[in-house]
């Protein structure tokens, strides 16, 4: 008799615990809310260089992207060339990118197109800084979602001195610079 009542109590406790855990899990989950991803706000980024060193991925999931619409296609590119470079060619001593990921191709006089080799880019942000100081800021850092693991706590975000990382809806994915007149070419 005593054993039976004991079993009943245990059964009741177990039932309560299952209900509590299931209730907690159900209340915590928001099946309808959209999944979010980490992304860098380019207006906040200060190009400290931690994106290249603090990511759990190696090389980092943060890469430089290029908004061609707002690029000036300059010959004297602040993102491509070292400050005070003697010549404006693709000599290693002139290039700012430490891994040679920023490629330059001639379009037409006097314009040059700059593209990023993502396999090489480590997300150090040196070119971003250069383009920001002397340029339109068309080069900037973004988290590439095919590489990002989507960590619970982004280890770059935690160390970002400018708080430039935030979670955005997965359907948006990127925080791009277009600018008010960015899409249009200037008359």
């Amino acid at each position: 008799m005593k054993k039976e009542s004991n079993l009943g109590r245990r059964e009741f406790l177990r039932g309560t615990a299952v209900a509590a855990a299931a209730g907690a899990a159900w209340m915590a989950a928001h099946p309808r809310s959209e999944a979010t991803v980490w992304q860098i706000d380019p207006t906040k980024c200060v190009q400290c260089g931690r994106c290249s060193t603090n990511c759990t991925q190696n090389p980092s999931a943060v890469k430089c992207v290029h908004s061609f619409q707002i690029c000036g296609y300059c010959d004297l590119c602040g993102g491509y060339l070292q400050p005070g470079a003697k010549t404006r060619d693709s000599g290693a001593e002139n290039e700012l990118c430490p891994v040679g990921a920023l490629k330059r191709t001639f379009v037409e006089e006097p314009f040059y197109q700059y593209t990023i080799d993502e396999k090489l880019c480590v997300g150090c942000g040196k070119c971003v800084k250069g383009c920001g100081v002397f340029g339109n800021g068309s080069l900037y850092l973004q988290v590439k979602h095919d590489l990002c693991m989507g960590c619970n706590e982004c280890s770059i975000a935690r160390n970002c001195p400018a708080n430039a990382f935030r979670r955005i809806p997965a359907s948006t994915g990127y925080l791009l610079k277009t600018g008010e007149h960015g899409g249009k070419e200037r008359k």
Binding site: A25, M27, T36, F68, M149, E153, R158, A162, G182
Partner: protein, 426 residues
């Protein structure tokens, strides 16, 4: 080919035309060669199928429960552990994991507007429900963190019960600090200090590898140090497992008191029978229990006070408080090395006074949260003391359902087991 004058002229033009083009220093060129802008490479979020993960979790748990309870096969458990290390560990790179999902579920309750995907919620729930019915089968083989340690436990030694019990307090402290940190918005500590994810991802900071390496090396002798003495999710599983309906037993039939299994458990989960020559005096036991209950509130209050006093240290978990202290250091000229955080702060809009105000407000909140954390630890200590001081009468060698990780090691030590197996074969 010197384009500097052109650039300067463009710059001036830009400044002159002002407003409309103020955000861009150089004009966008007008191409005559019919050049069009290339597309930006912006890959969409890679879709991992949550259904596969949840299915594998369920299958793994069910299979482990079956191999422990019905098949009674350590080999099978070990095979499942191998698979878990490969899939949940190396293939999925340690994410999504039930241990970490605890934080997301907590955050959903403690923080406003924190969305938890259903899969994370399920990863939190399913192992707990399984623990309520079959014991800690999740720890046995499905958790990649547990499985990798299980493989390292080659020469396990046994710890005395009080030592093990006291070391177990760390996991409660870890759980408490995790809750505190999430409540205060200071981040997800379990993920940050996950010791084995570095191996799974094959890339981590030196300190992470060091911590993981030390834990695995320790685990050769003191089996599963993370599971037993640190894992915050293990605390919940321990509670759930105490009420488990069908927990595995050491012997498949009646215990013959041969004492052979006594030394088999590396986790100290085998409760030896109460010795006959040391009968427990009911009155002495009741008195001791009463005294413990009397000092219990005192312990809780003292622990809460200790938590309150240490709020300054705990507050440093929060990045704002840390930054405020960093800026103070710099202002007092104690900072010798250049600091990116300081430079970024100075370049920002916030003044030091505002930062200090924010940090102080946080510290005020930390006072109460730390006191609560201390009180929680006090309660845990009381619970442990009561458990240590009360003697349950047991006639046979039984499993401590809270501590048992269902690793199936002890089965092979039981002579009844081998008899049964031989009978089956015949």
């Amino acid at each position: 080919m010197n384009r500097k004058p052109v650039a300067v002229a463009a710059l001036l033009l830009c400044l002159w035309t002002a407003q409309a083009f103020s955000e861009f220093r150089f004009p966008m060129p007008e191409f005559e060669s019919g050049y069009t802008h290339p597309q930006m490479n912006l890959p969409p979020v890679s879709k991992t199928s949550p259904v596969v993960d949840v299915t594998l979790l369920l299958a793994g748990l069910a299979l482990t429960a079956w191999s422990v309870l019905k098949l009674r096969s350590r080999r099978m458990v070990f095979m499942i552990a191998l698979f878990s290390v490969w899939y949940f560990g190396f293939y999925r790179k340690g994410c999504v994991c039930a241990v970490g999902s605890l934080q997301n579920v907590l955050a959903a309750f403690l923080l406003p507007d924190f969305a938890v995907p259903l899969i994370v919620s399920l990863f939190f729930l399913i192992p707990l429900v399984f623990a309520l019915y079959f014991g800690r089968v999740f720890c046995a083989a499905v958790c990649p963190l547990g499985a990798i340690q299980e493989m390292c436990a080659v020469y396990p030694v046994q710890l005395s019960y009080p030592v093990q019990s006291m070391l177990g307090l760390f996991s409660y402290a870890y759980l408490g600090i995790t809750v505190l940190s999430i409540y205060m918005g200071a981040g997800f500590l379990i993920c940050r200090y996950d010791p084995f994810v570095g191996f799974f991802r094959q890339g981590a900071s030196f300190n992470m590898f060091l911590a993981g390496g030390i834990l695995l090396l320790t685990g050769v002798f003191i089996a599963r140090p993370y599971c037993r003495f640190l894992c915050p999710y293990g605390v919940l599983l321990r509670w759930a497992s105490r009420f488990s309906k069908w927990h595995c037993t050491i012997t498949p039939a009646e215990c013959i008191q041969c004492r052979l299994c006594e030394s088999s458990c590396p986790y100290g989960a085998i409760v030896v029978p109460t010795p006959e020559d040391r009968p427990v005096d009911r009155l002495t036991g009741a008195k001791r229990f009463g005294r413990l209950l009397l000092i219990a509130p005192l312990i809780v209050v003292v622990a809460a006070g200790a938590g309150f006093v240490s709020h300054e240290i705990l507050a440093r978990l929060h990045p704002t408080v840390w930054l405020a202290e960093h800026v103070t250091e710099a202002e007092q000229g104690r900072l010798t090395e250049p600091s990116l955080d300081l430079d970024a702060f100075r370049a920002g809009k916030q003044s030091s006074a505002e930062l200090y105000a924010e940090a102080n407000a946080l510290k005020e909140r930390f006072k109460y949260a730390s006191a609560c954390f201390g009180g929680f630890m006090g309660l845990v200590v009381c619970g442990k003391l009561i458990r240590l001081s009360t003697i349950r009468k047991s006639k046979d060698y039984e499993i401590d359902r809270g501590e048992c990780l269902s690793c199936a090691r002890c089965f092979a030590y039981c002579p009844v087991e081998s008899n049964n197996a031989q009978e089956k074969e015949q």
